[in-house]
C-alpha cells in the first residue's frame, strides 16, 4: 500500500473524528422519532459490525442490512440447475462462496462435488475463460453471481469472445431498482438509504434518480471506512431534520453522477435488464441482468434449456428471507447460531462473506440492537 493510501485510510479511521460525529449524531437524533436507515451492501454491514458502529448509535437510530449479498439473492433454481449440470458432467466454475450456497434440495455445488459432480472455484470470470480455453474438449458453465460491480468484467470477456465450450448462467442482479422496490414496501417502513459505494461507482448516482424522485427518501452514497458510514448517518439525519431529502454523495473519492461509463457500455452491450427474481425478496422490475439474444451461444439457459430463475426454497422455519429483506436481525431466526453457523450453514445468508448472518456470526453478535423488535 502506498503512503497516500495509508494517509486516506488513517483519516477515515480516526478515533477523534469518529467521536465528534457520534456526538453530532446523538444531538441530531435527540428530538427525532424512530429513524430506520437501510444499506444494501454486504460490505457496509461488515464495516458497521466490525467497527462496532451500532453500539455507538442512539437508540432511535436503527441501521438495517438490506439485500446486499449477491450469494444470498441468487435464486435457488439457478443453484439447482448448476448442481444438476455439475452432476451430469458439465464442469461448473464459480466463486468460493457461491459454491457453498444450497438450492432447493439442500444441495450446494460443494455437496455436488462430494457426490461426484464437477466443480472448480475461480476468483474471476477471466480465470473461468482461461480454464475453458485450456480444456477445449470439455463443457464448462460459469455460475455468475454478483451486482453491477462484477458483471462488467464478465461482459468484457463476452465481447472479446468466449471459447465455444463455455457458457454462463447469469444470476447478475442490478441494485438501483431493488432500492426503489424497498423504498415503497409498506411493511419495511424505511426512512432513508445508505447507497452502495462499489455498485454506485459503476452505475453512477443517476441510476437512482427515478427511484429517489418517486419516494423522496434521503439517499447518501457512502464508502466503506467507519468514518464514511458515520458521516452518511450524520448526513441522513441532517436531511431528515431539515425536511429536505436529497441524493447526497459522501463517497466522492469514488462515486460520481455519471458513474463508470465504459463499464456501463459493456453491460448494456451484453446484458438486458429484465424483471428478475431476487431470492428472499421478490421479482424486482428491471433488477436482473440476462444475456442478450445476440450472445445466445454464451447463455447457458438457452444451451441447456434451463428454467426461468425463481424460488426462495429456504429450509422450513428458517427466516433467511426476512434477513435478506432486512425485516429482522439474524438472532430472530430460530436457527441462528444453533443449527445454522458459519461451519454448518443452512441458509445462504450464513454462507456468503457478505451475508448478514455470516457477518453477525463472525462477530458473534447474539443480541438484536433494535429497541422495538
Amino acid at each position: 500500500m502506498n503512503d497516500r493510501m495509508k494517509e486516506i485510510l488513517a483519516r477515515y479511521r480516526d478515533r477523534d473524528l469518529a467521536s465528534k460525529l457520534v456526538k453530532e449524531i446523538h444531538r441530531l437524533a435527540k428530538d427525532l422519532p424512530k429513524v430506520r436507515i437501510m444499506h444494501v451492501c454486504g460490505t457496509h454491514e461488515w464495516t458497521i459490525t466490525h467497527w462496532g458502529i451500532r453500539w455507538l448509535l442512539p437508540e432511535n437510530v436503527d441501521v438495517r442490512a438490506g439485500p446486499g449479498c449477491p450469494v444470498c439473492v441468487t435464486p435457488s433454481s439457478d443453484i439447482d440447475d448448476a448442481v444438476k449440470l455439475s452432476l451430469e458432467g458439465v464442469k461448473v466454475l464459480t466463486y468460493g462462496d457461491m459454491s457453498r450456497a444450497r438450492g432447493s434440495r439442500m444441495l450446494s455445488l460443494e455437496d455436488a462435488r462430494a457426490l461426484g459432480g464437477e466443480l472448480e472455484v475461480v476468483y474471476s470470470f477471466r480465470d473461468a475463460v482461461n480454464i475453458a480455453r485450456k480444456n477445449l474438449g470439455k463443457e464448462f458453465v460459469f455460475l455468475g453471481a454478483g451486482f453491477e460491480t462484477t458483471a462488467p468484467l464478465t461482459a468484457y470477456e463476452v465481447l472479446k469472445g468466449l471459447p465455444d465450450n463455455l457458457s454462463i448462467i447469469s444470476s447478475y442482479r442490478y441494485v438501483p431498482p431493488a432500492v426503489g422496490l424497498i423504498s415503497q414496501a409498506p411493511d419495511m417502513r424505511i426512512d432513508a438509504f445508505i447507497n452502495p459505494g462499489h455498485a454506485s461507482t459503476i452505475s453512477g448516482m443517476k441510476a437512482y434518480k427515478e427511484f429517489f424522485e418517486e419516494h423522496r427518501k434521503p439517499m447518501v452514497f457512502a464508502g466503506f471506512e467507519p468514518i464514511d458510514v458515520l458521516l452518511a448517518i450524520y448526513l441522513i439525519l441532517k436531511q431528515i431534520k431539515s425536511g429536505s431529502p436529497r441524493m447526497e454523495n459522501e463517497y466522492r473519492r469514488s462515486v460520481t453522477w455519471e458513474g463508470n461509463t465504459r463499464a456501463q457500455m459493456f453491460l448494456s452491450k451484453v446484458f438486458d435488464l429484465r424483471d428478475g427474481y431476487w431470492r428472499g425478496v421478490s421479482v424486482v422490475p428491471g433488477g436482473s441482468m440476462e444475456v442478450k439474444e445476440r450472445f445466445k451461444e454464451a447463455d447457458a439457459r438457452l444451451r441447456y434449456g434451463l428454467r426461468e430463475p425463481s424460488g426462495d426454497d429456504f429450509p422450513r422455519r428458517a427466516r433467511c428471507a426476512d434477513v435478506i429483506k432486512g425485516k429482522i436481525d439474524p438472532p430472530e431466526c430460530p436457527f441462528y447460531m444453533k443449527e445454522c453457523t458459519p461451519a454448518t450453514p443452512i441458509g445462504p445468508t450464513m454462507v456468503g462473506a457478505e451475508g448478514t448472518c455470516r457477518i453477525w456470526a463472525q462477530h458473534r453478535v447474539t443480541r438484536s440492537v433494535r429497541a422495538d423488535g
Partner: protein
C-alpha cells in the same frame, strides 16, 4: 424440505487443522474422551488442553510440523519444530530440558536440504539451551508425503522462578502452574510483540494471492523471554498464539477462566506490512498464526514492571498491554479503533475468498 443438515458423510477437512472451532470439536468430541484414563492424573486437567501436560512434576509435550514451503523468510521447518515445542513447555511454567527429533521424509528429498534443516534445528536448540536427545527417521514413497514432516516432543521441569512468580500475584490461585484457570477480572493481558508476522511471511513465500510483504517469520524459542517475566513475577497464565492467532488464544482463555476479556484494538501491535496485507485480503491479523510471541495474563499491580522486563529483551521490544480480564462481558470483546465494541470470535478456519 429438510430442516438443515446435509446427508454427506463427515470427513476430515483442512478446516479441522485450522486451530479454530472445528479442531476443537474434533479434539473434544473424538480424541479426549477416548484417552481419559490410565496412569497418573495430569496436574493441569486435560480438558483445558494445556500446551504441555504435567505428570509427576515433569512437563511433557509433542507437536508435528508441516509447512509449505520448507524455507520461508525468517525461518524454516527446522527452526519452527524446535521453537514450537520449547514454547509449549515454556508457557505452562516449565524450563525445557530436551526435545526429540522425529523425521518423516519423502523419497527424493535432497540430503543437502535435510542438512540445512538439521543445522537450523541445532541452532534453535542452542539458542534455547535444550538438547536434542533422541530421534527417529522414516522414509516414505514419493508422492505419499509433501517433502518432510517433523515431529518433536519435549520434556521440561518446573521453572525455579515459578513459585516466587506466583507468590507475587498476591492472591490464591486455582493452579500452581501457569494456566488460564488462574485468570481473574482485572488481570492485564500482555502480548510480547507484533502479531501475524509468521503467517504473512509464509504466505509471501508461497507467492499466494499476490502478497509480497517484506515480513520475516518470528519463529523463536521463548524460554529466555519468559524467564525475564517470571523474574519480575505476577504472571498467572501464558500461551503462544500459534494457529488461530490471538483470537483463538483469548477465546480459549475466556472459556476456560469463565472471565470476559476486553482488548483495545489500537494497542495490539501489528507491523505496517502485516496490516497492509490483511487489509488487502480482508482478514483480521488477530486470526493469524505466530511462532515467536508470548501472551501473558499478569496480576494488575505487576503488569507495568513485567511489560518493561519484556521490552528490555530483544524478543520483546514491541510488547504492549493490550487489554484486561473483565466481568462486564462474556467472551472476548474488542474496543475498535473508533471506540465501538464488537465481539472477537473464535476463528472458524481458513477464510473463504470474497466475491464482490
Amino acid at each position: 424440505m429438510a430442516e438443515g443438515g446435509g446427508a454427506v458423510e463427515e470427513k476430515i477437512t483442512m478446516m479441522h487443522g485450522g486451530g479454530g472451532v472445528f479442531m476443537n470439536m474434533l479434539i473434544r468430541g473424538h480424541i479426549l474422551p477416548r484417552f481419559d484414563a490410565g496412569g497418573p492424573e495430569p496436574e493441569i486437567p486435560a480438558e483445558h488442553m494445556p500446551d504441555s501436560a504435567v505428570i509427576d512434576g515433569i512437563a511433557f509435550t509433542t507437536d508435528s510440523y508441516t509447512v509449505k514451503p520448507l524455507f520461508f523468510p525468517g525461518g524454516d521447518i527446522g527452526r519452527l519444530s524446535i521453537s514450537g515445542t520449547v514454547n509449549d513447555l515454556t508457557v505452562v511454567g516449565a524450563e525445557p530440558l530436551a526435545v526429540s527429533c522425529g523425521l518423516i521424509v519423502e523419497e527424493g528429498l535432497p540430503i543437502r536440504t535435510l542438512d540445512r534443516i538439521l543445522e537450523s534445528m541445532a541452532e534453535a536448540a542452542s539458542e534455547a539451551g535444550v538438547r536434542i536427545a533422541t530421534g527417529d527417521l522414516k522414509v516414505v514413497e514419493k508422492g505419499k508425503l509433501d517433502e518432510l514432516i517433523i515431529n518433536t516432543s519435549g520434556i521440561g521441569v518446573r521453572s525455579s522462578l515459578l513459585d516466587a512468580n506466583l507468590e507475587s500475584a498476591g492472591r490464591s490461585l486455582e493452579s500452581r502452574w501457569l494456566t488460564p484457570l488462574n485468570i481473574k477480572p482485572g488481570d492485564k493481558i500482555i502480548v510480547s510483540g507484533t502479531i501475524g508476522d509468521h503467517a504473512v511471511a509464509v504466505m509471501t513465500a508461497r507467492e499466494e494471492m499476490g502478497i509480497r510483504a517484506r515480513v520475516e517469520s518470528d519463529a523463536a524459542p521463548l524460554n529466555g523471554l519468559m524467564r525475564e517475566a517470571l523474574k519480575v513475577g505476577g504472571v498467572v497464565a501464558a500461551k503462544d498464539p500459534t494457529r488461530g492467532g490471538l483470537a483463538a488464544l483469548l477465546n480459549e482463555w475466556a472459556e476456560v477462566s469463565g472471565v470476559g476479556i476486553m482488548v483495545d484494538e489500537e494497542r495490539v501491535p501489528v507491523s505496517e506490512q502485516v496490516r497492509s496485507a490483511c487489509d488487502i485480503l480482508g482478514i483480521d491479523p488477530m486470526d493469524l498464526a505466530n511462532e515467536g510471541k508470548l501472551v501473558l495474563a499478569v496480576a494488575p499491580h505487576m503488569a507495568e514492571e513485567v511489560l518493561q522486563s519484556l521490552r528490555n529483551h530483544p524478543l520483546g521490544k514491541r510488547a504492549e498491554i493490550i487489554g484486561e480480564a473483565t466481568k462486564e462481558y462474556e467472551g472476548v470483546v474488542v474496543r475498535t479503533g473508533i471506540g465501538g465494541l464488537r465481539y472477537l470470535p473464535m476463528p472458524a478456519g481458513d477464510p473463504v475468498p470474497r466475491i464482490c
